[in-house]
């Protein structure tokens, strides 16, 4: 018996360990990419902990500064740029190494090398450079966050409201077309939205829902209502009818029963649905681009700012900004899925 449980335990921990590694490693690497300077993105093999400073070698040759950085790959100093223009040096330090210095500081530090000896010095890197750059590009970030929250909130409300009502009906009532209906509601997800995205949006534009958060929520809810209905119908049918009937026996009305008994039991499912609804609204940028270009959500702002850039580290920074609130939401919500209803007895 002991051996069996030992094996079981090992498998158990192995599974957990794999899960953790498979999820966290990519995620942390992504986080550290967001803090890389441009130079570090292309170092190979990279250290996983981002650099905090650079070792530089400055040489005064032919009336120009020979600027080199210590490369771990080559185990030697690598010549990067040769110039005497302080502006160019300042910009190079900023853009490529995330080092912020003024012209005066550079002049003061570098001119020591004019005496003929190569100068070795270390400059600290600004770890938050990517994030700062990001905010200087996007000047409406605050408003966009509010917009995202509103759009997501509406999506949750609409989806849960319409969806759970429908889900309850399907689970509890026998009516004509019930079998077909649950399938029909799901048909919405069966048709590729890509094909009808534009006609659907033009329709909303004509109704003056453009640039409103509720307009966005309407589009986001299209898929989510069906999803909610489907999930809640299976959750509701899993909730024992006897519990509800017991409550009627005790004098409660249908509505009271629904609110006090059924709904609380369905909370894990509802939470799951609200999570889908939230993420659908939060992460979308394409619909927002067409429908609400002048009143953007956060993910649209990030999409526009980063878009076709090949600066991976900046894209990573933007993505981290977008992920953080979603993570917080997930963190708060997860407790509600995990609540156990063990006390409910038949």
């Amino acid at each position: 018996m002991n051996q069996r449980s030992l094996i079981a335990k090992t498998v158990f921990y192995l599974f957990i360990a794999t899960m953790i590694i498979a999820i966290l490693v990519p995620f942390f690497l992504f986080l550290s990419t967001s803090v890389y300077s441009e130079y570090e993105v292309y170092e190979f093999p990279r250290k996983f902990i981002p650099r905090t400073s650079f070792d530089l070698k400055i040489d005064w040759v032919d009336d120009k500064y020979d600027f080199s950085v210590f490369s771990r790959e080559m185990d030697d100093y690598e010549l990067l740029i040769q110039t005497d223009d302080l502006d160019k040096l300042r910009r190079f330090l900023k853009r490529n190494l995330s080092v912020q210095k003024t012209n005066e500081e550079i002049d003061r530090d570098f001119s020591i090398s004019k005496n003929g000896e190569p100068l070795y010095l270390t400059y600290k890197k600004d770890l938050l450079y990517n994030y700062k750059t990001f905010f200087s590009i996007t000047n409406k970030a605050g408003k966009a966050v509010v917009n995202s929250v509103i759009a997501a909130g509406w999506t949750i409300l609409i989806s849960l409201f319409f969806g759970s009502l429908a889900g309850y009906a399907i689970a509890r009532y026998k009516f004509k077309g019930r079998e077909q209906l649950s399938l029909i509601l799901l048909v919405v997800r069966m048709f590729p939205a890509v094909a009808i995205a534009i006609p659907m949006l033009v329709y909303l534009l004509k109704m003056n829902f453009d640039n409103t958060m509720i307009g966005l929520a309407i589009v986001y809810s299209v898929g989510n209502i069906a999803l909610t209905a489907w999930i809640t119908s299976s959750i509701f049918s899993g909730i024992n009818v006897e519990l509800e009937e017991a409550s009627y026996v005790f004098g409660a009305t249908k509505l009271q029963t629904f609110i006090k008994i059924t709904l609380p039991l369905a909370v894990p499912g509802l939470i799951a649905c609200s999570m889908y609804a939230f993420l659908a609204a939060w992460n979308d940028s394409i619909t927002a681009l067409i429908l609400s270009n002048n009143n953007p959500t956060l993910s649209l702002v990030i999409y526009k700012a980063i878009g076709s850039s090949s600066a991976i580290q900046l894209s990573a920074a933007g993505a981290v900004i977008l992920i953080m609130p979603a993570l917080v939401f997930t963190f708060i919500i997860k407790n509600y899925i995990n609540q156990l209803w063990g006390e409910v007895k038949l």
């Binding site: 453009d210 640039n211 409103t212 509720i214 878009g307 850039s309």
Partner: protein, 439 residues
Amino acid sequence: MYKGGKMKKFLVMLLVLSLVMASFAGCAKKEEPVKAEEPAKVEEPAKAEEPAKVEEPKTLKITSGLWSRPEEQQFIREEILPGFENEFNVKVELEVIDNIEKVMEAQKASDKWTTDVVMTHSGKMPLYIENEYVQPLNDIKDSLDVSFMDAFESATTEGNNTYYLPISADVYLLIANKKALPYLPDGADVTKLTWDQYKDWAINMAKDVGPKVSFPLMPVKATVYQMGGLGLSYGSEFPMINSAGMVDAWGVVGEMVKNNAILETSFNYSDPIEQMKSSEAWLSFYHMVPVGDIYSSAPAKYVVAAAPAGPNGNGSIAGAWGVGITAGTKNKEAADEFIKYLVRPEVLYQVAAGTGGFIPPVEEVIAQLGEEPKDIIMKKGLDTLQNGVVSGVPGSDYTDWGAVKSVYDTVFKTMWDNNGSLDQSFLDEQQKALEALEK
């Protein structure tokens, strides 16, 4: 049991809830139209130089496809726009997005013009002019006293009207990691290469260290332009696929493919930046903006040169970006002033140098170019533009340019799968497919 009554209560609750939601929707709707019509914002008097002005500063909105990279946007916002804002007391809002057509289409269809100034690529200008997204700029052009290169006139003008002023031009350039220099064939000068020498160079490297050429082949991106430049060097008319010159061009690339000189990972990229910066690749022939990006990341590591030459000259596809004013703008005066500001030689030079290293197509600016890395890129580009064989992108001659790109992708992939060889009948067949796409 008041079951009936409770059901009524439930329905009432439903109704109330819907009303509440609708009223929120109404509130939200009302807010936005007001915002759209009043771009004017009341600014705190931060721009203190101005003596007490009675009028509030207006907001000029620029929608651009140019400056897609965050560093460029940052540069424009921090170092170009403030000068204009201070001088004219106008606040400028810059928005850079990928697919401007959809936005323009929506503004035209709804007649709600929120964009005042638009930056368009030369390939799309005919479309914008035809769809009336932009208005003529004749008076501005006449009032200016800078001279523009006339290479892009066919795109920026229609009939007697000028709709765009070109502010940047781009061509394809060669870039090589200095580590590749030892592999140059005998007698070759990297600043004056022929395509034959380029090919031998690539093969020399392949034989010693493996494939080192980046030839970005991501579908529907730039395969057509790289091949187009090659074809022009051999006398082919862009974008013919089966002409004698083009066959020679395919042959040159085919040789490289056969000798494993081109990195297979090129299929995953739409530009050589990652492959070059990580040193996976040492050689590439590509659009000058990514080339400028690579070069300025470490100017001491790379060599940039004009496009290699074929029997017909240095061939390259060329494009330009122009600034125009939207048809329905409400800020015409501010827009006019902005355009005039942008084409001032000292401003335009800053823009060119601080962003991708485009060629500023204004004679007065060209005269100022020096020896800094970006200037060097610009000069090489200029060299190609003025002395090479260039062609624009005839996007408006075809029903769908994306489909044209796809044909090129098909040909290249077939050549790759056949280890570098293509037969004439296949090329003829693809040419027919191309012609079927002509308008």
